[in-house]
């Protein structure tokens, strides 16, 4: 147990800190798709590893056919079992996939707060988030994790595989290759996806290991008589709480005196007679999310003026990078997600949420 040995003021500060929760950030942006300076596309591109997309369509009971076909056309991804990490430095893999761009790779079932985690970003950057022992054994240049600078028990190694100094045969390349083959022969289950090459460009790598192809899983659910707050005036946290309750099927029909829960829909509210919730899970690429946003905007153009659409994209909790390739950590929740509300008049509200170990979304 920690015992305070400092002065009175310090003790008060320590008490206050031990009773407060780690910081969280919520960035709220409002603009219009008609505005040339709108940043939706760049924000979507900056979150590389997306786990789940959920869409809520107001005043809609069944998914329009073109939306359904778009959801089924999301890029497939591959799960490679026990992939030795040095395979990512394989000359053929670099030439057929990494140098062409847009390869997404992420270690699967590794926890960022306790294990070694790896991400291969579409710009050819390989990021290894390693514990202290592994980092020292690897013997490659890296830096202390931003979020562990006091304890120094986690290190991040970032390598640009497209850089000239990392070309096969060069000194830095050989040092990393030797590190990953002999000193630290890391193996992990790995999720891989490539756009637009698909499986063909990854085939050489896949053929050497046990792998399986996966299609993002789509689920739909229709809702009726959905109480809905006023999206224009509602406080952002209240709005996200309401959307979270809709997403998790949590009852909002409570009174302030009920014993179990006092969660209610924020006032003022209106009742939407029917709504449709669609969710899609897997390793989802930003490119597909962009297409989905375009499709949703087309869909809204054909709807009534009061209709709206919300789209929530959750990033992977255990990805070593989040917004714009910046470092990501898991202190408690590791949440990194954004919610986009699109309205009939092309205006939008974008809410970007980050947990304690994230930089502010750009």
């Amino acid at each position: 147990m920690k015992v305070w040995t400092g002065g009175k003021q310090g003790k008060q500060r320590w008490r206050r800190r031990s009773n407060t929760t780690p910081r969280s950030l919520l960035v709220c942006e409002r603009s219009s798709f008609c505005d040339e300076n709108n940043r939706v596309s760049s924000q979507v591109e900056q979150l590389h590893f997306n786990y789940k997309v959920s869409v809520l369509l107001s005043d809609c009971s069944s998914a329009p056919s073109h939306l359904e076909s778009l959801l089924t056309s999301f890029s497939h991804f591959y799960l490679v079992r026990n992939l030795p990490l040095h395979e990512l430095l394989d000359k053929q893999f670099l030439e057929t996939a990494v140098y062409q761009g847009n390869v997404y790779g992420l270690s699967y079932r590794t926890r960022l707060d306790e294990d070694n985690c790896v991400a291969l970003m579409p710009n050819g950057h390989l990021v290894l988030s390693l514990d202290k022992d592994s980092f020292q054994v690897l013997g490659f240049e890296g830096k202390t994790s931003t979020f562990n600078y006091k304890t120094k028990n986690r290190y991040v190694v970032t390598v640009d595989l497209t850089d000239g100094s990392m070309a096969p045969g060069r000194q830095a390349y050989l040092r990393l290759l030797t590190g990953l083959t002999s000193r630290l022969p890391l193996q992990m289950d790995f999720l891989l996806s490539h756009h637009p090459g698909g499986g063909a460009s990854l085939q050489a790598l896949l053929s050497r290991y046990i792998w399986s192809e996966h299609k993002p899983e789509v689920g739909t659910c229709s809702l009726t008589h959905l109480p809905c707050p006023d999206l224009q005036s509602c406080d952002p946290h209240g709005l996200l709480e309401w959307l979270g309750a809709v997403d998790a099927n949590i009852s909002r029909d409570n009174s302030s005196s009920s014993f179990l829960s006092s969660l209610v829909c924020p006032e003022p509210k209106r009742t939407v007679s029917r709504a449709l919730r669609i969710s899609i899970c897997g390793l989802l690429l930003p490119h597909d999310v962009q297409r989905l946003i375009q499709e949703l905007r087309c869909y809204l153009g054909q709807c009534q003026p009061e209709s709206w659409v919300s789209l929530t994209v959750h990033g992977f909790v255990d990805s070593p990078v989040s917004w714009g390739g910046k470092e990501h950590g898991v202190l408690r929740g590791g949440e990194n997600f954004y919610t986009l509300f699109i309205f009939h008049d092309h205006t939008y509200h974008l809410h970007l949420a980050a947990g304690a170990q994230d930089t502010c979304p750009p």
Binding site: T21, C28, S31, D35, K52, H237, G333, G355, C360
Partner: protein, 129 residues
């Protein structure tokens, strides 16, 4: 709170950054009981948590407001909502709740977040087998 850009008219770009502004925190917890055949309703679970709070923090703890938003009787998994300033008290009392009706039990805290939305998109639940 910081306002970066604001230009006055309707379709302008507006950006607001809210730091630590969430009034609530949400916890996804699972109760592990020694005897798995035990039945426990939502009301009983909430009463059990309140008793734990009272044991640890006395009357002040028993008066602490929290909501049981969702409960699955088969898996004993619940979603709780608590004011951010009381999260530490609730969490500590859950940790120290060791017995339910004379049988050993433990609360597993599966996920904690200042956003309820984050609880429905946890990538650690991705099953590809």
């Amino acid at each position: 709170m910081r306002r970066d850009e604001e230009k006055g008219e309707a379709a302008v770009f507006q950006r607001v950054v809210l730091k630590n502004a969430s009034p609530y925190h949400y916890m996804k917890v699972c109760l592990v009981l020694e005897d798995e055949s035990t039945k426990l309703s939502a009301v009983e679970l909430k009463q059990f948590i309140i008793t734990g709070l009272k044991t640890l923090y006395g009357e002040v703890g028993a008066a602490l407001n929290f909501d049981l938003l969702k409960y699955d009787e088969d898996t004993f998994t619940a979603v709780l909502r608590v004011y951010s300033k009381w999260l530490v008290k609730l969490w500590s009392s859950l940790t120290l709740n060791g017995f339910y009706q004379n049988q050993a039990c433990a609360f597993r805290v599966l996920q904690v977040s200042p956003f309820l939305l984050a609880l429905s998109g946890n990538s650690r639940e991705l099953q590809l087998d």
